[in-house]
């Protein structure tokens, strides 16, 4: 029975037995009893504590670093600085790697407030902190720039002498790159429009805000081999990056992913791991580094802030004739803001003949941005969805009808070029329109907003192993760290394929020495890609079990098929044999040829984009500018919801992160370029009492690229909220909000200006 296991065979319609139910997750008990071990929860005998000294300046030349006094302090076992991080060949040839190295430990210059400049390892935390105070760093403070628009100005302080979009043609600049997406003729399109709306927007830099600070424990032996335990979205990425940065053989470092206390993209990069390994190597002892919250805000994440301009034109009947956008994203002190993806995602919900999006990648004296849930898309969507609703209003068309008229559909050409396969945007719009929420009355000072969102979703390198145990249970080892309950989905898919009980499968995250390479858990890929590999591994197990049954029965392998969790004879020449269950064959594995396992290693592709439509009711206090989200509904296409409760959880979590970004979250800098709100007190993520219940509608339009129809769901949910809330707030306030966060001072100012303008017009 040959099985094509290299590539997915596409969607197969079926009735599910386990998939689509809501079983308890395999790691659940550990997580409700405090037993689960996260990044900071492990120790090693003889362990030292590491701590990192960070620049207090936004931009400064580091003239000298004197570590003598720190090294002399009793209990200090190692101190590292830039001198301990030579630029190895692999780094020299790769600008991306070089940037990571420089971000982990500053070289000639400190590029932002919080940039690491030295680190110590000592026998306890208090001594380590004391030692940091003894390190003497001489800085020459330089001019700095924080804002993306100011960074593009001709007289802006320049961060890198060897960077600039026009580098080679002229002088260096803070513009690291330009991107352009689109097709058709936008000028002709605008000329054909009856109504055109254009606006400029700004968005603040939002941090991923995971509750678990970065933590790791490195243990490197005198032979140069070692182990690293850390909380990360991708331990294989950590292994490869750390070894390349430090000039080690990849095989000399085994990385184990701890339980991870949230990531949202922010843990797809390394920050402290190379430092811990360098300290451990130097001290000859295990070294643990745990960031504090202040460090998390100053030196990891956030996503880019943006300055945006959007123009859309339409015919009187609502048909869009042209759409244009200019996106300027600052991604902190190094190139690589997610503006490319912002430009591609900006108009991805619409079926447009004439479309263009131009983006600039800008560097500023802020921490190096890290991916944040659908990187680059939410800010672009905020601007685009604001303009779409304004245009719909101007034409007197219901905002959902306007979107339906112009929505991207099955096999339509996407705004970024390629032709879509089967997609579920229209279904989400129709479902949204039919909700009780959309048809309910509003109270005074309230407004309702809708917005759509899109995310690509990715597959990527994935390897899983499924080992059958003698008692008929199975152990599934996957290589994508489980951030939000993905192990439950893997177990469900394996049980579905094998025809055994969900509870008979236990999933773990394998370390880097136990599995083939796995890409990070990003791009909403874990349930899709590891799930795909799990299905294929399970099919391999079934194939092998059928072969064992054939041996037992003495019939050809192709005369056995798998049915209802058992091998059964099949075909005219198979003979009459009682079915052999999964458990029966598992028990006889040793006698029939040895252990039974399934593997699958794949570069999974075909994730299929996911679309969403959100509805929000917001109320504004006209005297204080404070906004209250009264009601919220997420409608999103999941393809197939493997574990609907965790799918809803992704919808709700993304929506609430979007609410935070829309209303209060932002990086606030002093005029010296120092981050002023580096803590949960003043970086205001939503608390429980800020929110209503988040209603959810799961749309299931099967992804043709997955046997169960699964699409990634994790990221799309953060794309529509800011636009939806801005539309609701603008309706309630009767003035268009163009800056997020729509914090009370900003909103009150807008209301007052609008009142003054109205009075002047009278």
């Amino acid at each position: 029975m040959p099985l094509e296991t290299d590539f997915p065979q596409g969607y197969e319609k079926r009735d599910f037995r386990v998939v689509g139910k809501r079983p308890v997750r395999p790691d659940g008990i550990d997580k409700v009893t405090g037993r689960a071990r996260f990044g900071a929860d492990t120790v090693a005998p003889g362990m030292l504590h590491g701590a990192i000294l960070r620049s207090p300046h936004a931009h400064a030349r580091i003239k000298s670093i004197d570590t003598a006094k720190a090294e002399a302090l009793e209990g200090v076992k190692a101190v590292v600085t830039r001198d301990d991080f030579p630029i190895h060949d692999a780094v020299k040839e790769d600008r991306g790697l070089l940037d990571i190295l420089v971000n982990c430990m500053a070289r000639e210059k400190a590029l932002y407030d919080g940039h690491a400049v030295a680190a110590v390892a000592a026998t306890d935390k208090i001594t380590a902190r004391k030692a940091l105070k003894l390190i003497e760093v001489e800085y020459e403070v330089l001019g700095h720039v924080i804002d993306e628009d100011l960074a593009m100005a001709p007289d802006a302080p320049i961060l890198h002498d060897d960077l600039g979009y026009d580098y080679g043609k002229g002088k260096p600049s803070n513009v690291a790159g330009r991107t352009e997406i689109g097709h058709g003729d936008v000028d002709a399109g605008f000329a054909a429009a009856d109504r055109v709306v254009e606006r400029s927007f700004k968005t603040g830099a939002a941090h991923q805000g995971y509750i678990e600070p970065h933590a790791c424990l490195a243990n490197i032996g005198a032979d140069g081999r070692g182990e690293l335990w850390c909380c990360t979205q991708g331990h294989f990425m950590v292994r490869d990056t750390v070894t390349q940065l430090l000039g080690m053989d990849v095989s000399n470092l085994r990385v184990t992913a701890s339980e991870i206390g949230g990531g949202f993209g922010g843990k797809t990069a390394v920050f402290i791991e190379p430092v811990a390994v360098a300290l451990s190597r130097k001290a000859g002892k295990p070294v643990k580094i745990v960031m504090d919250r202040h460090e998390v805000f100053r030196a990891t994440g956030p996503t880019a802030s943006a300055s945006l301009w959007v123009k859309v034109g339409a015919k009187a009947d609502g048909t869009i004739t042209a759409a244009d956008a200019l996106l300027k994203y600052q991604g902190g002190a190094f190139q690589g803001s997610p503006v490319d993806m912002g430009a591609m995602a900006a108009f991805a919900c619409y079926n447009l003949e004439n479309v263009r999006a131009v983006g600039y990648d800008i560097v500023t004296n802020r921490p190096k941005q890290a991916a944040y849930r659908a990187p680059g898309a939410p800010m672009a969507a905020f601007a685009v969805e604001s303009v779409m609703t304004e245009l719909a209003d101007a034409l007197g068309i219901d905002p959902i009808d306007f979107r339906l008229k112009n929505a991207a559909r099955d096999h339509s050409k996407s705004s970024y070029g390629p032709t879509y396969n089967e997609i579920g945007l229209v279904e989400t719009l129709e479902a949204a329109k039919a909700t009780e929420h959309y048809n309910s009355p509003l109270g005074p000072n309230q407004g309702r907003g809708v917005a759509c969102g899109f995310w690509f979703n990715f597959g990527g390198q994935t390897a899983v192993t499924l080992n059958v145990n003698l008692d008929g249970t199975a152990a599934l080892s996957v290589g994508t760290p489980d951030i939000g309950g993905s192990r439950a989905s893997m177990c469900a898919m394996a049980a579905e394929e094998l025809g055994i009980d969900y509870d008979d499968i236990y999933a773990i995250i394998g370390d880097t020495a136990s599995l083939g390479y796995n890409d990070v858990t990003d791009g909403s890929r874990a349930t899709f890609a590891s799930g795909l590999a799990t299905i294929q591994a399970a099919r391999q197990v079934k194939e092998r079990m059928c072969a064992r049954a054939a041996r037992i029965w003495g019939i050809p392998e192709d005369a056995v098929k798998w049915e209802g969790g058992a091998a059964v004879p099949s075909g005219p020449n198979a003979g009459d044999h009682a079915p052999l269950s999964f458990r029966d064959i598992a028990k006889m594995a040793g006698e029939t040829g040895g252990p039974i396992a399934g593997h699958h290693e794949i570069s999974a592709e075909g994730a299929g984009p996911s679309f969403a439509t959100h509805i929000v009711d917001a109320e504004i206090d006209r005297e204080t500018g404070r906004i209250d989200v009264k009601r919220y509904t997420v409608v999103q296409d999941a393809g197939k919801a493997v574990h609907p409760a965790y799918v809803e959880g992704q919808f709700q979590g993304g929506a609430v992160q979007g609410i935070g970004w829309a209303l209060n979250e932002e990086y606030i800098y002093s005029d010296k370029g120092v981050l002023e709100n580096a803590g949960f007190l003043d970086y205001r993520v939503p608390v429980a009492s800020d929110l209503p219940m988040i209603e959810t509608v799961i749309v299931e339009k099967p992804n043709p690229g997955h046997p169960y129809g699964v699409r990634g769901v994790g990221e799309t949910s953060i794309v529509p909220p800011m636009g939806a809330i801005a539309n609701a707030v603008s309706a309630a306030a009767k003035v268009r909000a163009t800056e997020i966060p729509m914090s009370p001072p900003r909103m009150l100012k807008l209301l007052r200006e609008n009142e003054s303008a109205a009075k002047a017009a009278e």
Partner: protein
């Protein structure tokens, strides 16, 4: 030959063209041949791009078969969160 569409800003490296004809039976060959035909694109292709083949996004799987009538787009490198 396969018609390959480049994302807008790559026009800067192809004398204003964003559609080019390239030979190749899979994504890898297409990228190799594109780099040879348009040497100024080579460093960008080597740094990493995403390929859309018949509407499907490929970040890595370069061995995917490309037919003469395939729809091929070269897009910026993508990552998720």
């Amino acid at each position: 030959m396969v018609q390959v569409t480049l994302w807008g800003s790559l026009r800067d490296y192809t004398d204003g063209r964003n559609e080019v004809e390239v030979a190749g039976d899979n994504i890898y060959q297409i990228l190799q041949n594109l780099g040879q035909a348009e040497p100024r694109l080579k460093p960008i292709l080597e740094k990493g791009v995403t390929v859309s083949l018949d509407g499907q996004i490929y970040r890595q799987n370069l061995m995917q078969t490309v037919r003469p009538d395939s729809e091929v787009f070269i897009l910026p490198k993508m990552a998720g969160g």
